[in-house]
Amino acid sequence: MTQAPKQPNPEFAKKVVEAGGKTLNLCFQCGTCTGSCPSGRQTAFRTRKLVRRAQLGLKDDIMNNEDLWLCTTCYTCYERCPRGVEIVDVIMALRNMSVKEGHMAPQHKKVAELISKTGHMVNLRDEDKALRKKLGLAEVPPTVLEVVEGLEQVKKICAATGFDKLIEGGSK
């Protein structure tokens, strides 16, 4: 039995462009990105293929695919692209779309929640406070960790953009 050919979906490709991948269609598939990719040295991730799939709008091949999360955002491909495709921004647009569809790694969710609740991505533990004191620094850094009004502002922003709902798994 042969597999049915994949159908391009120009609507999806258009959405990627709108979500921030505005240079997507400049790509002519030379593969410089793949040759530059540090993650590609270690895994089967091929940047050029991901960009091609996005151009064709092959949504199902992209959205729930681990490949999307192997990019370390080192920007080497972005720098070397002879066509000026802002590849990292294309990948970020795809990641944003994938998260909206409910695909978010639990570890990323944990960090995102920490920021929306505490304003920082690393928690300040009691032992950290003690160490800071020992070094002669303020026990609590003079950031939203200390200033309650500032933290309230961070929370208001996360509520206003729908971020809280988004990381709970609902759509924005």
Partner: protein, 309 residues
């Protein structure tokens, strides 16, 4: 122009010795620069995970931080490549009027508005708005004047110390908005290391990624560590005494990943910590004992007392 410290998340909570080092190096006992704290900064927010998750929220939170510096008319001093990249990229996005308008709609909920800092045009009544200036610690130190002051303030020259400089991706790229160094042949951290009396060694793939960025470290740590191991082998081949980076996130990665692939660790320090050592700071305040890979062999080679662990 006055500067405002922006320490981010990793430094204050995991490597507070870097915070001490930066404050000491830039402050009255060091380079005597006009730097102060602006209260209420939050996470930049972290580009890898936050920008990946939702660009609009990432931008609004970054813009809130920029608004605080705008109000204070300060330049932001970042000490982390992630904070540097995130805030700088935000100013670039916010230079598009449509994006600025959308972001300000969100900021209106907390009574803030990002415009940039107003400046009067000379010889006219017109005002222009220039984006809030986001600087990197290395870029501020690496001026003729400050480098001269640095060279005159060395108390413990780092003789015979072989340093492997790791710049980190977001110090170098994307070039259109970083532009603090030559992206293909960066020199600034190497220059600082040399002024301190140490040797900056060459090694293969010096500009390659540490592996941690883009949310990879938190999600697929094995991949992050494999990339670190590649770099580590090249550094180890050249018999480096220490890895020096201007980024605490790269530092965290090098410092914690090493145990997964080697027993012969190489200590990792932030460039501000290395400066503080050479400039004569109190070693017990640099938090070196918190680093996973012991810094004692390095301190012994410099000829100073080791720190307890």
């Amino acid at each position: 122009m006055s500067y405002a410290y922006f320490f981010g998340c990793v430094i204050p909570s995991r490597y507070p010795g870097i915070e001490y080092a930066v404050r000491w190096v830039m402050g009255p006992e060091g380079l005597k620069l006009d730097v102060s704290d602006i209260e209420e900064f939050s996470c930049c927010p972290v580009p890898g995970i936050f920008y990946s998750t939702d660009r609009d929220t990432w931008l609004a939170l970054a813009a809130r931080n920029l608004c605080l510096a705008q109000k204070n008319k300060s330049e932001i001093v970042t000490v982390c490549n992630g904070c540097f990249s995130s805030l700088l990229k935000a100013t670039e996005y916010l230079s598009e009027p449509k994006v600025m308008g959308q972001t300000n709609k969100v900021l209106s909920k907390i009574g803030m508005k990002y415009t940039g800092i107003p400046e009067r045009v000379e010889g006219s009544n017109r005002r222009v708005f220039r984006p809030v200036s986001v600087r990197h610690f290395v870029g501020i130190v690496h001026t003729d004047e400050t480098m001269k002051a640095l060279s005159e303030s060395i108390k413990r020259p780092l003789k015979n110390i072989k340093v492997a400089v790791h710049y980190g991706c977001h110090y170098l790229r994307p070039t259109e908005n970083t532009a603090i160094d030559d992206p293909n042949d960066p020199i600034k951290v190497d220059d600082i290391v040399k002024i301190l009396g140490a040797e900056s060694i060459e090694y293969d793939d010096k500009l390659a990624c540490c592996g941690a960025g883009g949310g990879v470290r938190s999600h697929i740590v094995e991949l992050a560590n494999a990339l670190t191991e590649d770099k580590f082998k090249n550094i180890s081949n050249e018999n480096a005494d220490v890895i020096v980076t201007p980024c605490p996130f790269c530092l965290l990665q090098f410092d914690t990943a090493q145990k997964s692939f080697t027993k012969r660790g190489i200590p990792v320090v932030h460039v501000a910590q290395l400066m503080a050592i050479a400039m004569g700071a109190d070693l017990s305040k640099l938090g070196l004992e918190l680093h996973n890979v012991s810094c004692n062999p390095l301190l012994a080679k410099i000829g100073v007392t080791e720190v307890s662990r």
